[in-house]
């Protein structure tokens, strides 16, 4: 199954023909579906079905857009998409696939239904293929991308404020970060890749930390100081890095994106995006309060083993750029 997922993404990476790209995306989707409903819990099955429906819609729209492009231009090559209708359709389809606002509604519920590892795969690996496609077509519709990006950062920030389920919080943080990535897509695509990569590293560490603590709500995180003190002391740094505080590494993509936006004279947009990052910072801060900065009064009756598997992921994050 994992092999099939890897195969799917790789096919999309290597493809220059739309049909092959679409096939890669479909293989990807189909391969992850059994992984998602492994636990046979009704919520997992429901999440699987929602995921399947949204991804299938997106893939169908993608196929439709590529056929339209082939009809108009007479070729199936990925790079040569010069007409606005297919390009816009492709952008919207890919936005649905990765969960950008306003096409984000499936993301929190789907992530909530999965266990932490599958959720990790969903939010990191699954984003690679659509991004590769987004980078190769040249989205010419500036305002569409900017609206998608800004809406995502705002929705990601506001939506996460009322949550105390960790997986939903991670879903909203994913939406917000994807928004940042899309903002800079047409100006400086390498920055998109940089943001994507930084986001992967930070989310990976976060998911693993949550998995070690075996916790899915904020309240259950409060005991982590006794289970794994080292992870407890590093997680605030990961969280603040996700929020984009200097001098942590998470500041770097935000800074460079803001620089690029101001160079393109999009200063009000830059300010709005920066301020919306504050919204998501609030719930990151809340998690770090629960985890590290307060100590819950319950004493631990059993001594859990000290497993420190992901220490090496947490350390690079706390270092300045």
């Amino acid at each position: 199954l994992l092999f099939a997922m890897g195969l799917g993404t790789t096919i999309t990476f290597a493809s220059s023909h739309w049909l092959l790209a679409w096939m890669g995306l479909e293989i990807n989707t189909l391969a992850i579906l059994p992984l998602m409903c492994q636990s046979h819990h009704p919520r997992a099955v429901e999440a699987t079905i929602k995921y399947f429906l949204t991804q299938a819609t997106a893939a169908a729209m993608l196929l439709f857009a590529s056929i339209t492009n082939a009809w108009i231009t007479g070729q199936w090559n990925l790079e040569f998409m010069s007409y606005s209708l297919p390009t816009t359709l492709v952008t919207v389809a890919l936005a649905l696939k990765i969960g950008l606002a306003p096409l984000h509604a499936w993301m929190p519920e789907v992530l909530q239904g999965l266990d932490l590892t599958t959720g990790l795969i969903l939010s990191t690996w699954q984003k690679l293929a659509p991004f590769c496609l987004l980078l190769q077509i040249n989205p010419s519709n500036t305002s569409l991308l900017l609206i998608l990006g800004l809406a995502s950062t705002l929705v990601g920030g506001w939506g996460g404020l009322n949550q105390n389920q960790l997986r939903k919080i991670l879903a909203y943080s994913s939406i917000a970060h994807l928004g940042w990535m899309i903002l800079v897509l047409q100006f400086f695509p390498s920055l998109t890749l940089l943001t994507l990569f930084m986001y992967f590293v930070m989310t990976f560490s976060l998911f693993i930390s949550f998995k070690v603590n075996n916790s899915t709500t904020i309240n259950s995180l409060s005991m982590s100081w006794s289970k794994t003190p080292i992870i407890s002391s590093m997680v605030p740094f990961i969280l603040l890095s996700l929020g984009g505080l200097p001098p942590l590494s998470g500041f770097m993509p935000k800074w460079l994106i803001l620089q690029e936006l101001t160079k393109q004279s999009l200063a009000p947009l830059a300010t709005l995006a920066a301020l919306s990052a504050l919204l998501s910072l609030y719930f990151y801060l809340r998690i770090s309060y629960a985890m590290t900065l307060t100590m819950s009064p319950n004493t631990l009756l059993n001594a859990l083993p000290w497993r420190l598997p992901s220490n090496q992921h947490t350390l690079p994050l706390a270092i300045t750029t």
Partner: protein, 460 residues
């Protein structure tokens, strides 16, 4: 410069590798050594002022007093924290000290930055250790709220600053302090430029704090442990003032008309917060509001943009840093004995702790700006330059001085004179450590009477 920065970084290593019994003494000696070495910065043989260490770090007569203040404050913070940390497990003590040291490193880098972006990054970086100190080691439940207010007020002000700096960079090509004087922004009346001006200043005004956006300060100061309060009052507020002074150079033509409401707000804040001080029941809150009051004067002095205004602002910043920190230490001595910040629960201390009353007396006199202390010098210079700008400010500043004097005296009389409350059965005698702490705070202040040119800034 590197003599100071590299040892500070290695102090972090020392914190984690010293044997536990010698931890505090080792760190104390180390930080005193660094602080003494930092005094060499005050010697300014050249006229131009800028001393370059490398391409990114330099100091000049504006930043060297603040740098020395930062370095001087670390041993004082360590002395002050020794008591309340003694009950904590070993690793937590080491973590606390590491946070204080990392804060100092960021502050040194911030004050010696030559690029505005580096200053910005370090300005934000100081938030993280302070946030951790306040929320982890604060004493009351409200500390989480205080941390949130602190972080979000400062960030909401400083994110527009980042965008503004990037805009300036994209149009001017460089953000180095050295070339800022030769690249002023041309005067224009576009609304967007006024927004840009506002964005540049907002971060520093929130940090100062200006009266309208000062809400984070009483919360943060009150909930922080003693070292947190000390560093907040003494140095972090001055980051705001320092940043404002640096960025005034490029804001020049617009400031003549746009700064008007902020000067008035600052002066009004002096009076308002002074009046609030007269009605406070919480000792630390009183000192916090007096900080807002003094920094309001500093803000007004900087916004006036005259040499006397800048000089007065710098002197007042240094003097206020030492005084405020001393007052917080005194409040902490009360807190450690009674575990309460309420003033009326710890009165009449002159009967019980007479030597401490001396320090209370000196600190209160410094707070109300008694001559010949540098506090007065700063205040008089700012008041004079404000009077030069407009006659009517004298009403506000005069009233402000009056109210400052009255609440400082009120604080002194309430804590020291009068009958001792009946419930105070057990008060420890003053530790030598506490006397040392206060002496080290007030001694530089008294010595500055003799040579104030050290902190005068550019005007010699």
């Amino acid at each position: 410069m590197l003599k100071i920065l590299i040892p500070s970084m290695f102090m972090l290593l020392t914190t984690w590798t010293s044997p536990f019994k010698q931890l505090w003494s080792t760190i104390l000696m180390y930080s005193f050594l660094v602080a003494t070495l930092s005094l060499t910065w005050l010697a300014m043989p050249t006229d131009t002022g800028w001393f370059y260490i490398n391409n990114y770090m330099a100091y000049d007569p504006l930043s060297s007093p603040l740098l020395v203040l930062t370095c001087w404050l670390l041993p004082l913070m360590i002395i002050a924290s020794q008591n309340h940390l003694a009950v904590e497990p070993e690793n937590r003590q080491r973590t606390y000290i590491s946070l204080l040291i990392s804060l100092q490193i960021f502050l040194i880098l911030a004050f010696s930055a030559t690029e505005m972006i580096m200053f910005y990054v370090m300005f934000e970086a100081t938030l993280i250790p302070t946030l951790i100190i306040i929320t982890r080691w604060g004493n009351q439940m409200e500390r989480l709220n205080a941390g949130t207010y602190f972080l979000f007020y400062t960030l909401a002000g400083s994110l527009p600053l980042l965008v503004a700096l990037l805009i300036y960079h994209s149009s001017m090509g460089s953000l180095s302090y050295l070339s800022l004087t030769s690249l002023p922004l041309t005067c224009s009346n576009l609304y967007a430029d006024k927004l840009w001006w506002m964005a540049c200043l907002l971060a520093f005004l929130v940090k100062m704090p200006l009266y309208g956006v000062h809400l984070w300060l009483p919360k943060a100061h009150v909930e922080a442990p003693i070292a947190g309060s000390m560093v907040l009052a003494a140095v972090l507020l001055k980051l705001g003032g320092y940043g404002m002074m640096r960025i005034m150079i490029i804001l020049d033509p617009l400031t003549k008309e746009l700064s008007y409401p902020f000067i008035i707000l600052a002066l009004w804040g002096v009076i308002m917060t002074g009046s609030i001080c007269l009605r406070q029941t919480d000792l630390k809150s009183l000192i916090a509001y007096s900080s807002v009051s003094h920094m309001g004067l500093v803000a007004a002095g900087i916004l006036i943009q005259t040499p006397w205004g800048f000089t007065g602002a710098l002197i007042l910043m240094i003097a206020h840093g030492l005084t405020s920190s001393a007052l917080f230490c005194l409040a902490n001595t009360n807190y450690e004995r009674t575990h309460s910040r309420t003033i009326i629960l710890a009165r009449g201390l002159q009967m019980v702790l007479p030597l401490m009353a001396t320090w209370w007396f000196l600190a209160s006199l410094a707070n109300l700006a008694l001559p010949p202390l540098p506090n007065l010098m700063g205040e008089i210079m700012i008041i004079t330059s404000l009077f030069n700008w407009s006659f009517y400010t004298l009403i506000l500043t005069g009233l402000g001085t009056l109210i400052t004097a009255s609440y400082s005296l009120y604080m002194f009389l309430l804590t020291q004179r009068g009958p001792i409350p009946h419930h105070l059965i057990l008060l420890e005698p003053s530790h030598t450590r506490e006397h040392l702490l206060l002496a080290l705070h007030l001694l530089p202040l008294l010595l500055l009477i003799a040579k104030p040119e050290l902190v005068w800034g550019w005007t010699a």
